[in-house]
Amino acid sequence: MRKYSVFAIAREALRAHKGWEAQWTSPEPRSSYDVVIVGAGGHGLGAAYYLAKEHGITNIAVIEKGWLGGGNTGRNTTIIRSNYLYEESMDIYEHSLKLWEGLSQDLNYNVMYSPRGVMMLSHNIHDQQSFKRHINANRLYGIDNEWLTPEQAKAFVPVLDISKTARYPINGAALQRRGGTARHDAVAWGFARAAADRGVHIIQNCEVTGIRRGPGGEVQGVETSKGFIGAKKIGVSAAGHSSVVMEMAGVRVPLASNPLQALVSEPMKPIFPCVVMSNTVHAYISQSDKGELVIGAGTDQYNSYSQTGGLQIITHTLDAICELFPMFRRVKMMRQWGGITDNTPDRSPIQGVTPVPGLFVNCGWGTGGFKATPGSANLFAHLIARGEPHKLAAGLTLDRFRTGRLIDEAAAAAVAH
């Protein structure tokens, strides 16, 4: 793989850009691999990359039903933060945030990580108490998070309406300055390129249709639309379809697949300097480097795999956006889409071993998996290589629903997040 650098740009500029090579190859699958990862999103590709880089395992295939990064990796609103309440969550999201900070250099690929700040608006006394609890928990754990008065929030985001007569009055905000955004496609492409460079096979347009198991119950490989592919270990990282894939191995996981929608506006001049979220009125918004406002809506109430959602959900979000930022009332929305999120009962992810020997699962990231991409991938690689979880992910086991050691971020945030 040729490195990307300023010299590469200069060299290619002199030869009419004819020397750029394909970022990854599309090989035919071998008959078997040491590790097969199901799902070529950011988490799956990243796990393959870290297996090759940190654990010396390169005989890996990442199998993808569609095209890489075409699921939730390409459908989210790219928000990155680590200001969760519980230690198990802070561990994994902060691990991820630290990896984000050096990811572009590590991958030699500009993932456009932009620590522009994530501000969460407080509208009432309950929000205020809850956010201050989060802030204190975060700071005691060494994670930055701070309380802003309405005036300080307005100074940070001048387009915010903090007037007393606002429909949704603001009595403060929590700000994590290291939070921000990254370019979602670049994350998938960067991991794919770096993994392929280390010998990982990325097999696209290949649907896993079954998981074959041996006499002892251990995994032997996957049945796919391109035939049987043997595997000593299988890692499932299939987001909204995780329960479908796990069912193939006879493992039930406590997941509900729900549509989550997002939308972008027409591009505008830079107007919006950070990410603003409001859990209470359910809106989140940032501005991409292309100038589009990127807006996240809520989940639909029912289980679905339709990758689309109800119009009333985005209408509800836009109602809130227009009240919080009156100047956006006449902005036109350009595109809207849905992705399928896999939600656990406690709204915390599942990453761990399964009752099936050789089968590992990374799922349940729900509505907030993008921010976790490098951290989750890094710890999933550790899990697959060693057969036991890294200490930072030790609490995320599938077994917690039996033991009752839930990580109840659902109650902590009071909304899907």
Binding site: S243, V244, A256, Q301, N303, Y305, L311
Partner: protein, 118 residues
Amino acid sequence: MLLIHCPYCEEDRSELEFRWAGEAHVVRPENIAAISDEEFAEFFFLRNNEKGLTYERWRHIHGCGRFFNAARDTVSDRFLMTYKAGLPKQPVPVAEKFAAIAEEKSVETWEQTEGDAR
């Protein structure tokens, strides 16, 4: 937005009037204090998350207020059937229903709706 037939009101009403209420036909164990942790976890947390035909409960919360059951396709979000609470799981002639859905135009166009009215 979904259009849902309430089997009590016997009307098609918009999804805004309804609240989804989870998997249908979940049986609560009679001896819940005596069951093992595995059985409790299964009863309490594990739900079918089918891709395709699913049986679920809905509540007509802004209408008659009653719970009822529905059979729905989670890929197209089409309702195949709704029926009253307390009835056993109703068989759905899946193949025929799905074929019928495939024949119907799945996207509502202006010609189909407003066009008729004009």
